[in-house]
Amino acid sequence: MAPAILLMVLGALCPAVALLLRLTVTQSTDSLGVKLTGFLQIVVLVIGVLLVVFGVINLVRTIVRNGRIVRQAQEEQAELHRIGLCRELSDAEFLQLDKGEKAVNKFVRGLVRIPVGTWNGIKKIGLFFKNAALGIVNECKDIWKTFVEGDWKTKVSFLVMGFGNIARGQVLRGILFLLLEVVFIGYMILMGGYYLSMLPSLGKIGPHSEMKLVPGVGEIETTVKGDNSFKILLYGVLTIFFIIAVIYTWRVNVKQNKTAEMILKSGKKLKSGKDDLRSMVDDQFHKTLMALPTLGILIFTVMPIVFMILVAFTNYSSINDGYETKLFTWVGFENFKTIFSWDVGGVNYAATFGEILLWTLIWAFFATFTNYFLGIAVAMLINKKGIHLKKVWRTILIMTIAIPQFISLLYVSKMFTLNGLFNGFLIDLGIIQPANAIDFWGTPTLARIMVIIINIWIGIPYLMLIATGILMNIPADLYESAKIDGASGWKQFSKITLPYMLFITGPYLLTSFTGNMNNFNVIYLLTGGGPTNALRSGAAGTVGHTDLLITWLFKITTSGSDPTYGAQYYLASVIGILVFIVVAVISLIVYGLLPSVKNEEDFQ
């Protein structure tokens, strides 16, 4: 019964999908994308019809052979129940399953964990906001209470930060608070106010011509530069950061007044400036240590990311540079729409993005797992009993890690050019004719295979090192007991070595996968993204067959010489955000599938 209904519902959904596909085509041009969508629509519709037909057939059969089917369905239900597809099994129940059933159970439970995990994540986020809101309400109540119940020193401190501290003898703290307030007020009057007020518009007057009176010459038309959108956005963001920081400090200031009053009331002494300084290297040492690194991260990582996220909602490019030529402004979700459109001014952004994303994922998959397994294999070869000169083999490989990648990558890239060393060898050995030299970097598929192979060459020494370290850490008694139990070499590998490696390096594999998605150096230095994909190049730079999202992003930001579009920074930002989303989703899924997220305290 259920499968029939499911089939029919799915079938009924298909026309809706087809309709959605239809809607993505904004203009009726004859581009490949449009053809593709048309084709897809037909495919989807056909599938829908088939599904409905199958569903009806199924239903009829169900009704005809009702009695038997019901019993069978019940059995199926029981079977599913036993394998545990729709519930968690207890350990004992799980152990009773046979091998295949265990695999099915694990897979399905893993898949189930993804939506559950995602839902939990969403709930957590919701809870976070709820708690944050509650927290703010509580803070406000506390602030009000402090004001009502506080003495006059505290009350003055609400306006003059640090006053209470100074009045109660904590001069050092007080002066710092006061200083911050003075700086803040000064900044807001001199700069912050202007930038903040311009933030919604990103500038009103762009570069324009003006008649200027030059002494001795008369009035001349000159170009005058107006607002600077870039600076408005940048300093606007910074000002908001600053305001938040000041509000927080103000809150700390209020709180300190409260605690100071309480301490004084209970007859104890307040901490002096000297005590404060002393606690900077003791119980508050972490604040001292974290101050500089955190500031660095805030200014050089967080701020640029916030800025660039905002840029994705503007039309900032090297042409709309916001100062020299034209102001830029907010455009809402326009850029996101562009990148998911089949046709904007004759360019198929969606297809370009889709192709590059696909290749990025394929690349990351192969780059990660070929390196991983071959690295383990090499480590095991060197570790094999009876192999001499282990250190020498290892050192040869390790040495290559030390050579800066740009040297090896650039050199290897040249080795495989048409007239490079490799073709030269083949010609000299008489394997190929000079005319048939292999065009490694000119053939899309070959180039893709080559970057994966060369990446293996680059990555194996590193993985070999990691694998060696872990292999040596596998307790020898595991192997001994396996041998006594009669496990062969392959069994030992598949039952002990590999599970152990996978368990320990699970998180590493994840970071390595996402790292490879953003592996700029290997791709850019080897192929520069090429060979050029003529079909996809154009508005968003020259796109090649080996381009990853990250190299595409780089190309867009450096294609300032393009006369019509310039460097489309806004597009680069959109791509950056999409890369983040892809990486985050993959990480979430993998963490959902990992048996247990390791507790960091386990290593203590």
Binding site: I387, V412, S587, F603
Partner: protein, 303 residues
């Protein structure tokens, strides 16, 4: 395994079997070593080549061709001398300064960060670590555009790219705390506690107890921090933006290769430059290899 096979194996003796498999392994290892080393051997040979039209490949496979008049290959130090007179010393100095400063400052910052996150339990600790994890998911290149504009405003880009690059490298180095935090986590906390009861402040615990015990990871951090700038290409290129005097070696050598054909002079000079860049780094690396291995394996194990 069938009985027949079993008896055969006994007949042959386990030793013979393992000898065969070992021979296979040796062949694989030798082949691998050749594959891994050949590009580097070629770079060194090419760096000594004088006449740019000759082909190194002849030397290796077809000696007669190499000796053909007009095509014969001659070797000498010409490339290195030319290198000395080019922009290369400038680039080398740039990179060296960057690497040195970054090695020092980055190590300090990373150690501060990882010690704090390993040893202190404060309210913002977990959120901070999660936040940094999320930050790490954004492609770093994204921030290039704005950093370039800001550095340009500050006068730290273009001709002055060196201090600008240092700032960029150093500023976000707090994010790279994973490996050393993992190492700190393995130092028993009771040592800290014993020292604190013995009368040490938190700072004294760090300097007198933890740092002396963390020597391997300190060296690892310095080493990786020092090696990073030698290979950095993207930021260096973007921030120097065509100002040759402010290039680092990676950008400089790449610019040679990009503007020249296979047989041109720049190519052999690139090789010579590569040798000069690689040799000191490799020597340093080999001396400190032990610490590097320790850091890498530990880091992967701890995730």
């Amino acid at each position: 395994m069938s009985k027949q096979q079993n008896s055969m194996k006994q007949h042959m003796g386990m030793k013979a079997a393992s000898r065969i498999s070992n021979t296979v392994v040796y062949i694989i290892l030798v082949a691998m070593s050749v594959i891994w080393l050949i590009p580097f051997v070629c770079i060194v040979i090419q760096s000594f080549r004088i006449n740019p039209t000759g082909m190194t490949r002849y030397l290796l496979v077809n000696p007669e061709a190499a000796l053909k008049p007009g095509l014969e290959i001659r070797f000498g130090f010409d490339n290195y001398i030319r290198l000395w007179n080019s922009d290369f010393p400038r680039w080398y100095l740039n990179t060296f300064i960057i690497a040195l400063v970054v090695a020092v400052v980055q190590t300090v910052i990373v150690l501060c960060m990882s010690y704090t996150l390993s040893r202190f339990r404060f309210k913002l600790r977990k959120p901070m670590m999660q936040f940094m994890l999320i930050l790490g998911m954004f492609p770093g290149m994204l921030s290039m555009i704005i950093l370039y504009q800001v550095l340009k405003d500050l006068g730290l880009a273009l001709e002055n790219a060196v201090p600008g690059l240092i700032l960029v490298y150093v500023a976000s180095s707090g994010m790279g705390y994973y490996v050393s935090k993992g190492f700190f986590d393995t130092i028993p906390k009771s040592l800290d506690e014993a020292a604190r009861i013995d009368g040490a402040t938190r700072a004294q615990v760090l300097f007198k107890i933890i740092l002396p015990l963390a020597k391997p990871i300190v060296i690892y951090t310095i080493l990786t921090a020092f090696m990073g700038p030698w290979g950095d290409f993207v930021f260096a290129r973007y921030i120097s933006n065509g100002r040759i005097a402010a290039y680092n070696v990676a950008v400089g050598l790449q610019s040679w290769l990009a503007t020249d054909t296979m047989t041109g002079q720049n190519y052999t000079m690139f090789c010579a430059g590569g040798v000069i860049v690689a040799v000191p780094v490799v020597i340093l690396f080999m001396c400190l290899q032990r610490y590097y291995v320790e850091g890498v394996t530990g880091g992967a194990v701890k995730g």
